[in-house]
Symmetry: C2
Subunit: 784 residues, 2 copies
């Protein structure tokens, strides 16, 4: 490297380090134009210094190669708590001021940049939606590499660098995501360049990968399928040179891999992608010792190395010396503008990492070509006369979308090995499963360029899809209902990201993250109790209502209508719970559309109330299995208590039950009261935990009359109908509930109640003796 280039890179790095320290400490005197005094220091010192110099080094060198190699690039900052570093770089390259014109690239803006950092009313201390160039928060560690791969998919010209901290590298999600390289197509996808940053320590401990022998680490990374390049040191000149060389080598190898794969014939084998191992001191260039304890290159530099600067003159002195060690007077002119030397490595325009449109994916989003539902809908002349597998029909729709995006390549379906089992197999008529590892003659539907992605890691599926969405593309995650809890914390973080993004005018909405939860709690014949958990709905409904939607379509056409809606939507997390087993068709496509648009409504054909009258009781339902049980109960009541006025209400959109003030979809009280009445018993058969319905509806006038049945954690390997009996959600129990709660019925219908109770007893004996349900259950049909 030429002496000049080193000087330029080092100046940029020093400037970024200076700005990082400034953000953590300074309220005022940003350029140190006067001696540092206690009143220049923030009253609360917050932020993470330890990782910042390493992130600044990476940013400086990414700037260099992006400019020199002419690459479009995005960077995922795994150590997202190193917010000061990324903010510093964004301010240096000018993108920060372009997005936030108030924070100018001069002394006044620098003062604002410093003051606002981790300050009430200011910006978060982590890389966050507010940070230009970011699609990754990095507070909850583990997802950087899967986000990087998600961003690289179907972006053949994009380089996605990904800094992985050695703390993050210990997490399960990160450990699993190394194998993403068995799914990345060198032809149609971009490149991911992992940069494993070994600074040696976490909060209070050494990091595992930093403390195993280098040969063992090398073996591990080669086992992951990478060819590692090593950059090690604590002397800036040495490290800059080594890092520049490693970056050049990495980019040359990436170019060679892509060229080989993309020329006629292609490369025969999965490529071994390069990666960089960067080993530099934690808190590098910060105070070596504080109060007699070593700080630089120890865990003590993780957050704020000098903690009592306002009160302790020695700390204040050390801070000033530390800041001046970067020689700010050489880096910024008298007005506080970065010098030409500092900026010489910075690329132009959207090549700047803070300005790439891939980090504001809505800019690049193209509408998904969702075809007319008429071509896929099932014909329903009357309710309950035919049977379909809802997800299999949905599979046809998804296959069409997959076909229609063959050119645009902006749609992916992910899942942990369940696409076929969830009856979405039609997708394989349109595309294959992405697969870059070995193939045998017996294999089916595997291809390097497939757009269904299956790995037995819900974390990796979720991370890929988040990265894909946040860079502007569409997708669907099909998952076992019980095991989607595996990504509870990831969806938390994604919803937090969406909530914050929605409030930023410069962030353009991105496609929603859509879950299809099938193989649900009521259909676990094979697997039993461990596979029975409907609580993901409860989990997401705790989060920001503006970003969360929950749908339980009860049949095939309603599933199509819901899918049409969620696939077109933006900036939501949509949870769709639907069955894959054969189920009755209740609504025609037109009826389904109207019903889903309302989100909840009366099914007049199923009830017995007159056109003008008030019902004696409301039978409400949400979910495919509860809907069936309610409809059978309604039929039993019609037959045995023909004068009882029963109203059947089906709920597709659970958030409609919330008060209007609590959720954009929430019903006004007038609408809720008209649907459910204010004073009649409501027997609500719900797919999941029954108290969820109470939590949604507790403010309603009629709430004291609401009685909910649902899953109450009584599970096993048994028949689906036995499952509803075990959980008191079955047709017979619902009829008993009606009898118990409608005034006057207890006496009038005592015999019917006894028959219902006896049938339940008979069922339990029958199923234990024969292993299958009572014939009257198995053979039930709708007597429409």
């Amino acid at each position: 490297m030429a002496r000049d280039e080193f000087a330029e890179l080092n100046a940029h790095w020093r400037a970024a380090n200076y700005l990082a320290v400034g953000q953590i400490y300074l309220l005022d005197n940003p350029l140190l134009t006067e001696p540092l005094r206690p009143e220049h220091i923030k009253p609360r010192l917050l932020g993470h210094w330890g990782t910042s110099p390493g992130l600044n080094l990476v940013h400086t060198h990414l700037n260099r190669v992006i400019a020199q190699h002419g690459r479009d690039a995005l960077c995922i900052w795994g150590p997202g708590h190193g917010g000061p570093a990324v903010l510093a770089n964004s301010w240096l390259e000018g993108t920060y001021s372009e997005i936030y014109p108030d924070v100018t690239r001069d002394a006044e803006g620098m003062a604002k940049l410093f003051r606002q950092f981790s300050f009430p009313g200011g910006v978060p201390s982590h890389v966050a939606p507010e940070t230009p160039g970011s699609i990754h928060e990095g507070g909850e560690l583990g997802y950087s590499l899967s986000h990087a791969y998600g961003a690289a998919l179907d972006n053949p010209d994009l380089l996605v660098a990904c800094v992985i901290g050695d703390g993050e590298a210990e997490t399960g999600p990160l450990a699993a995501s190394w194998h993403s390289n068995k799914f990345l197509d060198p032809v149609h996808d971009g490149a991911v360049l992992p940069i494993l940053h070994l600074n040696g320590y976490k909060i209070a401990n050494p990091a595992v990968l930093a403390r195993i022998p280098e040969a063992e680490l090398d073996s591990l990374l080669r086992g992951y399928g990478h060819d590692p390049l090593y950059v090690t040191g604590d002397d800036p000149a040495t490290v800059h040179r080594a890092m520049a060389t490693a970056m050049d080598q990495a980019l040359e190898r990436i170019t060679a891999v892509q060229r080989a794969a993309r020329t006629a014939g292609g490369a025969p084998d999965r490529p071994r992608w390069p990666m960089i191992v960067l080993r530099t001191p934690k808190g590098w260039t910060g105070p070596a010792t504080v109060d007699g304890e070593p700080v630089e290159n120890t865990w003590r530099s993780h957050q704020v190395p000098l903690s009592s600067v306002r009160e302790n003159p020695e700390h204040l002195r050390q801070l000033e010396a530390w800041l001046r060690s970067y020689r700010p007077e050489e880096l910024f002119d008298a007005d506080g503008r970065p010098t030409a030397q500092v900026l010489s490595c910075v690329p132009e325009g959207t090549r700047r990492l803070g300005a790439t449109p891939h980090a504001n994916g809505g800019l690049l989003t193209r509408d998904l070509p969702v075809p007319p539902l008429e071509e896929f809908a099932v014909a329903v002349d009357k309710p309950g006369a035919s049977v379909h597998e809802p997800t299999r029909v949905l599979g046809g729709l998804l296959a069409r979308i997959m076909r229609d995006t063959a050119e645009s390549r902006n749609f992916r379906v992910v899942g942990p090995d369940e696409t076929h089992s969830n009856r979405l197999g039609a997708l394989f008529d349109a595309t294959a499963k992405a697969w870059q590892a070995g193939v045998l003659p017996t294999d089916e539907h595997l291809s390097g360029n497939g757009r269904v992605m299956e790995i037995l890691s819900e974390h990796t599926c979720q991370g890929w899809l988040e990265g894909y969405h946040l860079t502007g593309r569409h997708g669907l995650f099909s998952c076992y209902e019980a095991f989607v809890h595996i990504v509870d914390s990831m969806v938390n973080q994604h919803i937090k990201w969406l909530k914050t993004s929605r409030a930023l005018s410069w962030r353009v909405p991105v496609p929603s993250l859509n879950y299809l939860l099938t193989s649900h709690v009521w259909q676990q014949d094979h697997n039993g109790f461990s596979h029975q958990d409907p609580g993901f709905v409860d989990h997401v409904l705790n989060k920001s209502p503006e970003a969360v939607r929950v749908y339980l379509p009860p049949d095939t056409n309603t599933l199509l209508s819901v899918a049409d809606h969620v696939l077109r939507s933006r900036d939501y997390v949509n949870v769709v719970v639907a069955g894959k087993q054969p189920g009755f068709d209740w609504l025609s496509l037109d009826e389904a559309r109207a019903h889903c648009a309302r989100g909840a409504g009366v099914w007049e054909w199923a009830g017995t109330e007159g056109p003008a009258g008030e019902p004696d009781v409301v039978l409400a339902c949400a979910g495919d299995v509860p809907t069936l049980e309610v409809l059978v109960a309604a039929q039993l009541l019609r037959r045995h208590l023909p004068t009882l006025a029963v109203r059947v209400v089906n709920v597709v959109d659970m958030t409609r039950l919330l008060p209007h003030e609590e959720h954009p979809h929430g019903m006004p009280d007038s609408e809720y009261d008209a649907l459910f009445t204010t004073d009649k018993p409501v027997i609500f058969a719900y797919h999941g935990y029954p108290w969820l319905v109470h939590r949604l509806a507790y403010r309603r006038t009629g709430h004291p009359h609401l009685h909910v049945r649902g899953y109450k954690e009584s599970g096993s390997t048994t028949t689906p109908f036995d499952m509803v009996v075990r959980n008191d959600l079955d047709r017979y129990r619902l009829v008993m509930d009606v009898i118990d709660r409608v005034p006057g019925l207890a006496v009038r219908a005592a015999a019917l109640r006894q028959t219902m109770a006896d049938t339940r007893t008979r069922h339990r004996s029958w199923v234990r003796a024969h292993g299958v349900d009572l014939p009257e259950v198995a053979d039930w049909t709708w007597a429409g």
Copy 2:
């Protein structure tokens, strides 16, 4: 291997395979004493064949080495859906009949074993609590290896074999847990023998690790720190011989490692533990093709290879041929008892894998020596006169327990790098952090035999602790509140395990799994929105009430009292949410004990109602921060509205709010009504999502008057007090709520209400200008 030994091992394996197939298919005719007819076949065919022959092979060979090497052993069956295999082996070795005398080891018992499998009223298709010898369900994949390490800790003479399926190996939690070997002490801990079973396929896809080149796999496993031994083949004779050799080698290496470490001086370096890679066909010995499609050695053998046996005569014929291929007449005598040849490899007594007491850990549990709390309690003469950091005081108690278990070694504290940050640092006076990787002079508190375990993987922490508990030992998991959601699905599965175990008379209760959630939602000054989530409580309260407890101690002495209780308890998941920041002491130890025993009670000293009177309003609180806000609000009301009768109720045990019928701790209505009244406004300041309180209390008579404040997903990096203001949980807002809800106050206290509103506005301006809270907030003291 001698010819006889091969014949014996193969006979055992054939018998186990026969019994596995029988469980999946047969209702009757267990010994095939007559030709197979449709009525001998189960009406619903459920189960997982694919992994079963591999598991049977492992079990056979574990039997062999346990007997020959004289080892106490436990096996974790990662592919837990291979229930038929483990049940078959347990029946063969006799443990099944010892635990379930009804299922005798003869033809009659074999028929029962077959029939009950995955049959309504029978046993689950997975390895489950009902399965002898198991501590691991294996339905939700990923946790086998961390469970194995947890079981091995502090069991120096125990060998823990762990079968890891190649599907499971793709999950994040499993991928992270390979590094557990950097925490296993060869002196004080037992050995873990991972057996990676590459059968090549998941449900519908090849498995990644089965399809990378063997050199790459070898590099990966060596990178994990293991020396792999390979067993590959599809010819039983070859595989038996290779497996026996590999098992012998593995055990010899383990013995050598332990001997070296345990002799004077010890071994200088972290040992490289052996492991076995077993590569055999999926569905081995099953039908090669079915309906013209290849089945053996493909994903099609994952569940039930012949799916229409009752209806399709060709399938029936194939099944009979398959069953007879094992030559049952050579394996079982006329009465259906296994022959001596079959049983010759089976070890004796508790050496049998189904009979080891380590898999029924309560048998081995010794009470934890929890010292008298008096030695650690803080002196409280009057409320609010002193300040302590609750978790720091708790740290002293934990340190004492750690010291007092130095010999018994039956207590561990785990956490993702936060023990010190959570102010439990006193532990390091009593023990160190377990660490077998490299050490530098600047490191602190690292040691090979430490009993605090920190790895930046909540999954691994949870898995270790589950394995430790289920083998009968005690522990505590200290975790950031927001990030405990990372293990949502793991705790689901653990609670399911406990719920089922509690109903089995032969399972002896094990120590509870205790969470200490600190660094909670209100104390995220550094980290902001991504670190703010109090929803874990909601998550666990969805699960089986008999196994779940939730405590929110409001100060130091209540935390001690709660800790004392949970550390002594059995068979629960206890969630304790407590602050680490300095907080006022409210209760003396005696008061704290009485209050925690009640779980909820009136704090008379904080309210203003007379001894006989009814309050005008109830101010309720749960959690340290809400308690402070309620007490300040009560003080403001006393000063400004001295005639208002305010009752202050503090809730420590959240489940007390539930109806008595719904939870063992639930209050009867009479008690609830006496505490909260039936008709007075209740302003409830709750630590987490406010609707949780409604979900718990919706059945109470006074529920329409209940108004809850809590966290409503409005977060940022800001001061703790600003956080409560943003979420309408602050003292001033609570006073306004009282004024708004107590009849007649709106007019009388209009000026006070305005002052409160103005103070909130003033706070927002002040904190944005100064970065710290209003002086009147920062300097507030209890005017008791």
